[in-house]
């Protein structure tokens, strides 16, 4: 598995406990519209994701992230070597 695939797989596991409706998750899945997450769910999910990847996902960055794929991209940038 590539690094990106690994990131996506980990993220899918992190999404699962919050995916109450059991919606199918792909890179195109939108957190607000498709998973119907409210701000409190987002907070818990972001906190778990930050801890898993040991990064900071600031509210400024969160505002730019709508889909699972965009979050994978953001995590790839945040965890890139040399950063």
């Amino acid at each position: 598995m590539s690094d990106r695939q690994q990131t996506y797989a980990t993220l899918t596991e992190l999404i699962a406990p919050f995916n109450k409706k059991g919606a199918a998750v792909t890179e195109a899945t939108r957190f607000a519209q498709d998973l119907e997450w409210d701000s409190l769910t987002v907070l818990d999910f972001v906190a778990n994701t930050e801890d898993e990847f040991d990064v900071i996902i600031s509210m400024n960055m969160q505002a730019e992230i709508e889909t699972v794929g965009q979050l994978v991209d953001a995590l790839e940038r945040l965890t890139a070597p040399g950063r």
Binding site: L43, A47, V55, I56, S58, N60
Partner: protein, 400 residues
């Protein structure tokens, strides 16, 4: 044409649903007459006030009122100008001197509201490439201060010391860091573990701002707030406060020992680009602040009130926001907005006003009946309050 108001349709429907179910609008109360810090006439009925921020009951203090009247006579009704132009009178300076004495700090800056104090200080001191790490349950004025500035905003779980530490450690080397905390969180009335949080913040090279809006005048030996009570006020870089709670008027401030603090008067836009407080307001504030320095007997009585109300409500069978009373705020947790509105109305009919609080102001989507006590509530009034809670709770089915 797109109606710009269509984005409010959800809120309009929620409000209409509440009114259609026959409830009085809980957000449209008018007080026809205010008799004292603890009693007003609402809908022609004598009503005990248990939902104000008048913690120390200073609004009708004779010396405070006399100072305000004198300032009206001597300086007129308003300054019509910015603090940095024609809007600084001797009263504004006297008010800042009172704050410096109250907190034993080197600098004090008075804003026109507490909201503007947070807006101004936070947005000005944390710039691009700096990080603001804040408790997720922070007040709207703190979030708006973050939104007005350009810093990276990093929230952490409420009162979670480890979550704060983890985030501080992840911030890139060399970046400026501001940790924003509150002494008392106003929705549930719980306090922050400031001692541990400030220690963690300092160990990681962050400056610390603490909003003590709901603790000033009451908590701590000299009423300086939760940071004083926990013995770490000297470690706090900026204390934000307000005149609209214990001080009993309106206005906001920041006090600090930072050696360069005074430059903020020139660079802080919410300080510069607004009119200063009216002379009567700063005169009442300064008088009240100086009286609050020597109010330990009132502080003790307010603690008694808080403890008695907390124990009494719990005994009646209500679910409360904290296991023990931590401040002058006791939050009664309601199952939902409908039940909250029914209970709020039943209490008003009994002759008791409390705050109905609901999302988004509340954490975790809760509906709360927020009770805030006053040092001027008598023991008899607290007894009356508990009787009214019992009657209203049974009438609405909230308790058995």
């Amino acid at each position: 044409m797109t109606d710009l108001f269509s984005k409010f349709d959800g809120v309009i429907a929620l409000r209409q649903g509440l009114l259609d179910s026959g409830h009085t609008d809980p957000f449209g109360l008018v007080m026809e007459k205010v008799e004292s810090p603890t009693v007003a006439i609402c809908n022609g009925k004598r009503t005990i006030l248990l939902g104000t921020y008048n913690y120390m009951g200073m609004t009708f203090d004779p010396e405070v009122i006399a100072a305000g009247k004198q300032a009206l006579d001597d300086f007129g009704s308003g300054t019509t100008g910015s603090r940095v132009l024609n809007g600084t009178y001797s009263g504004h300076r006297a008010c800042e001197e009172a704050l410096k004495d109250f907190y034993a700090m080197d600098h004090a800056m008075v804003f026109s509201t507490g909201y503007q104090a947070n807006l101004g200080i936070i947005s000005t001191i944390a710039g691009k490439d700096d990080y603001i790490v804040l408790d997720i349950d922070s007040h709207a004025s703190i979030y708006d201060g973050c939104a007005l500035g350009n810093a990276q905003i990093v929230p952490f779980r409420h009162n979670d010391i480890e979550a704060l530490e983890k985030r501080l450690k992840r911030i890139p080397e060399g970046a400026g860091k501001l940790v924003v905390l509150e002494g008392v969180y106003s929705m549930l009335g719980d306090i922050a573990p400031l001692k541990e949080m400030v220690a963690v913040s300092k160990a990681n090279g962050a400056m610390v701002l603490v909003d003590e809006a709901h603790s000033m005048g009451f908590i701590g030996e000299h009423g300086r707030g939760v940071a004083e009570a926990q013995g770490i006020l000297d470690q706090v870089d900026f204390v934000i406060g307000t005149f609209s709670k214990s001080v009993g008027t309106v206005g906001g401030f920041c006090v600090s020992n930072h050696p360069k603090f005074e430059i903020l008067r020139l660079v802080c836009r919410p300080y510069v680009f607004t009119a200063s407080l009216p002379p009567s307001v700063v005169a009442t504030a300064a008088t009240s602040i100086r009286k609050l320095m020597n109010s330990s007997a009132k502080r003790a009585h307010l603690w008694e009130n808080s403890k008695r109300l907390h124990a009494g409500l719990r005994q009646l069978g209500f679910t409360l926001g904290t296991d023990e009373p931590q401040s002058a705020i006791i939050a009664v947790i309601m199952p939902d907005l409908q039940a909250g509105a029914a209970m709020w109305e039943a209490l008003l009919n009994e002759g008791l006003y409390v705050n109905l609080a609901r999302p988004p102001a509340t954490p975790a989507g809760m509906t709360l009946l927020r009770c805030s006590l006053c040092a001027e509530h008598t023991a008899d009034q607290v007894g009356e309050i508990l009787e009214m809670f019992g009657a209203a709770g049974r009438a609405t089915g909230c308790i058995n």
